[in-house]
Symmetry: C2
Subunit: 490 residues, 2 copies
């Protein structure tokens, strides 16, 4: 059938979508979710059908922006519509939902169709559900990782030793990455670091770094920066390295669903796609973080090591203490101030952040063979104390595009201890929530500064932390929320 096209001036950001009036679809024996082959005089595409009841012209075909453009429509064109076959990847998704294992070719087909926009949100959701409900074996996880990398952009550093790190999040203020990058790159090891933005936390590494320099840089320029200064720290979303992964995360977010194999593949694909071959994974364990107990952490550790082996990566996994925030600042800029204080060897730099950063750097220095076994710590400390790391950090942020460091949010107030005693616990989740109420990460200069950590003695009325808020309203809400939460003193 031939119909006149009708442009819907919206991008779907996903698959190509066409819309028909209910009656027109019925007449053509077509249903929601069917695939259509659409032909204009200039082009041919496959699109997914959406059907609408009223408020839409009969005898016309609606085309969302991407589909309209792909068809190269010109005035007076008509579009020839025929039913198209379903892609074989749907059979493989069904297979996974039925509890059967998928091989590498099948997983690659699914991932390729996801990247090409050939699967609808509903179909992708079935894939995520199948992986969640029935799990992914090590073989499947390694194959999924490779498929994600194969169907995305890759930064190639052939024959080079490339270091990377990842932390399974949840610990507020845990901003070791910029320090580790500075130390490792200062040692001469390549570290092309991509990071994510916050979704539910007060800051991702990309948000924090963005408070002092540009983090959205294309692949071409990244290769130049890596060549000239030996590394970078940017937002992964700006490079489109693991496009399939980004689409699957979009599907996982509404339910906060993290199918284990998919989580592993997602992390490893991001390392693989920057050609990392020496990788440190940090799994913090604690009541308020993602991984709640040691047994779960051990299980994940084993899987990371196994998948790493299958991908030909040297992987080291550490299980760390996630019971309280790390550093003093919570929020993009406040965390970067901690980072710079450590790198500049300032007296008021937070000890816990410095110690964890040196520990992680030393592991990477030894793993990459830059330091002999047992000598990583000394090398890392030297690179930090001597100012080498700080100079490398300056080179990197200058290469990325340095910004003037902003001022802290101007509405601030101390929260005081309501009794004297010792700080027994700091709730990660409440602290993170409080920093978000104050305005982080949207306002990079908002957040908290923690004066007291677990084990500190405090007197009634003494400041536990300072809230920096982006507006008087936010400060008021934060102070209200702060009343009964965050710190436990005994």
């Amino acid at each position: 059938m031939q119909l006149k096209p009708y442009k819907i001036k919206i991008k779907t950001g996903g698959p190509l979508v066409a819309v028909l009036h209910d009656d027109t679809a019925h007449e053509m024996d077509l249903h929601v979710g069917d695939r259509l082959r659409l032909k204009s005089d200039r082009s041919m595409i496959t699109a997914l059908l959406d059907v609408t009841r009223d408020n839409f012209p009969k005898r016309k075909i609606g085309l969302f922006a991407e589909a309209y453009e792909a068809l190269n429509i010109e005035p007076d064109d008509v579009v020839e519509i025929t039913a198209a076959d379903k892609p074989p990847s749907l059979l493989f998704i069904r297979k996974k939902l039925d509890g059967l294992a998928l091989n590498a070719a099948e997983l690659n087909e699914i991932v390729r169709d996801i990247v090409h926009g050939d699967l609808s949100d509903v179909e992708m959701t079935y894939f995520v559900s199948g992986c969640y409900a029935n799990g992914l074996s090590d073989d499947e996880t390694a194959a999924l990782t490779k498929a994600i990398v194969r169907n995305g952009k890759k930064l190639e550093f052939k024959g080079k030793i490339v270091a990377d790190k990842h932390c399974i999040g949840g610990v507020p203020g845990n901003r070791v990455t910029p320090i580790v990058v500075a130390i490792v790159v200062a040692s001469g090891v390549l570290m092309p670091k991509t990071s994510s933005r916050a979704i539910t936390s007060p800051a991702g590494t990309a948000d924090a770094v963005e408070s002092i320099c540009n983090v959205t840089i294309n692949a071409h320029r990244l290769m130049k920066i890596a060549k000239s200064v030996g590394g970078f720290m940017v937002w992964g979303g700006g490079v489109d390295l693991a496009a399939a992964d980004d689409r699957m995360i979009r599907i996982r977010n509404p339910m906060s669903l993290d199918p284990e194999g998919m989580l592993l593949a997602s992390i490893m694909a991001k390392k693989h796609s920057v050609s990392a071959n020496h990788v440190l994974i940090d799994i913090p364990v604690g009541p308020g973080v993602k991984i709640k107990d040691a047994a779960h952490a051990q299980h994940l550790k084993k899987r990371f090591l196994q998948i790493g082996k299958m991908l030909g990566m040297k992987v080291k996994v550490i299980i760390t203490d996630g019971k309280q925030p790390i550093g003093n600042g919570i929020g993009p800029l406040l965390e970067m101030i901690d980072v710079m204080n450590v790198l500049k060897n300032e007296k008021n730099a937070p000890d816990d952040l410095r110690i964890k950063s040196i520990m992680e750097s030393s592991i990477l220095l030894e793993l990459t063979g830059k330091a002999r076994p047992g000598h990583g710590k000394k090398m890392a400390e030297h690179l930090l104390k001597s100012g080498h790391a700080w100079r490398k950090f300056q080179q990197i942020i200058t290469a990325q595009g340095k910004k003037r460091i902003p001022k802290l949010a101007k509405f601030s107030k101390n929260v005081a201890a309501q009794k004297s005693g010792m700080v027994k616990a700091i709730e990660n989740k409440s602290i993170a929530h409080l920093a978000r109420i104050a305005g982080a990460p949207k306002d990079a200069a908002a957040g908290l500064f923690l004066h007291k950590k677990i084990g500190y003695r405090v007197k009634k009325g003494e400041a536990l932390y300072t809230i920096y808020a982006s507006s008087p309203d936010r400060l008021k809400y934060a102070l209200e929320f702060a009343k009964n939460t965050g710190y436990k003193i005994k």
Copy 2:
């Protein structure tokens, strides 16, 4: 934040949806799939957020038609946007995905949110996936059935005996329903029958009946028809009886996914919502139909009986022979001609269709107590032979709005046996596919007429069946497809 609204002139047909530019969403710390509380001067709604990259104005909020109308927007209005909480039903969906059982209140909450459009397609897909991967117990299935009925329209026939039937499809030409309705209603038992249209078959009961009368009738008029003539046979989709079910079917279609518990609930809810309390379920078994083996049929039978008991329905389940098509006609009008030939006691009426219809009618007559045990068959035969059923049929189609019976599709050709011998098998799937190629169900007058069934002796060159096609092209394609498929002769 306050933004100017921007109307997107398309109905989503599902949840209320709002669209923001990527940058605006980022600035407001909002993500795809988040729920927004939107306030205009006149109204307040909750909508799901979609995010788009370009081609869309920043600092405006796009509203799909339903959301725009629900907000009652007037010129110069602005919309106040705040983040809204996720509905608790998402936690229950997650629970099901995690393999845990849901109670009646939780299932009701999910179904209510589906009907109110509070869940996105992705979220509904997670529900379907959870039910598919982890199954639904009898308790859950009965609770889901009740929830679907509670959250939809219901036709109430208080205190009345109400008969209904359902066939787990897949057998082409199996058009017993209109005959059973005519016989049962002629006996004085209420039978308010709603049926579906074809999705992948050449005709659903609703398509077949629609070839000779109107089948899209609202609930109010249906109650009047039931009162005046004792029953009807209409399209279920026109009454909106099980709205949640229709939405879930939309999600299940792209993957042809039939989670067993959901399938049972879907069928039973449709019976329950017309107040049926005496129900016959037909499970055909055969190589080319939905249920392939006797063990599966027995398992389903047991579950139907159990769920029926829990819902307070008298249920009888029969397992029938589905190895070949029933009747001679395949396609809406061709099947109705068979139906009318049986009802008019014509000599050329197909025996198998008449026998199966009498069998099913007799079961319902006995189940409802209209006939004493063992006397149903005699009563059904009498109602048919005497012309009572035919007159009742005429009353029903007149009440629904009789059409002039159309002519058969004008491009027709016989397909002849390529050798002499006995018909050993007729492939249901090929026959159905062939009828669809010929134009059914879109063209109600297209399809096949089978001259020979299993066990018939044929001579080489003798007609096996006639193809009625809606165009010369379709006839050509059908003849090509017919060459190597459909009949097995030995």
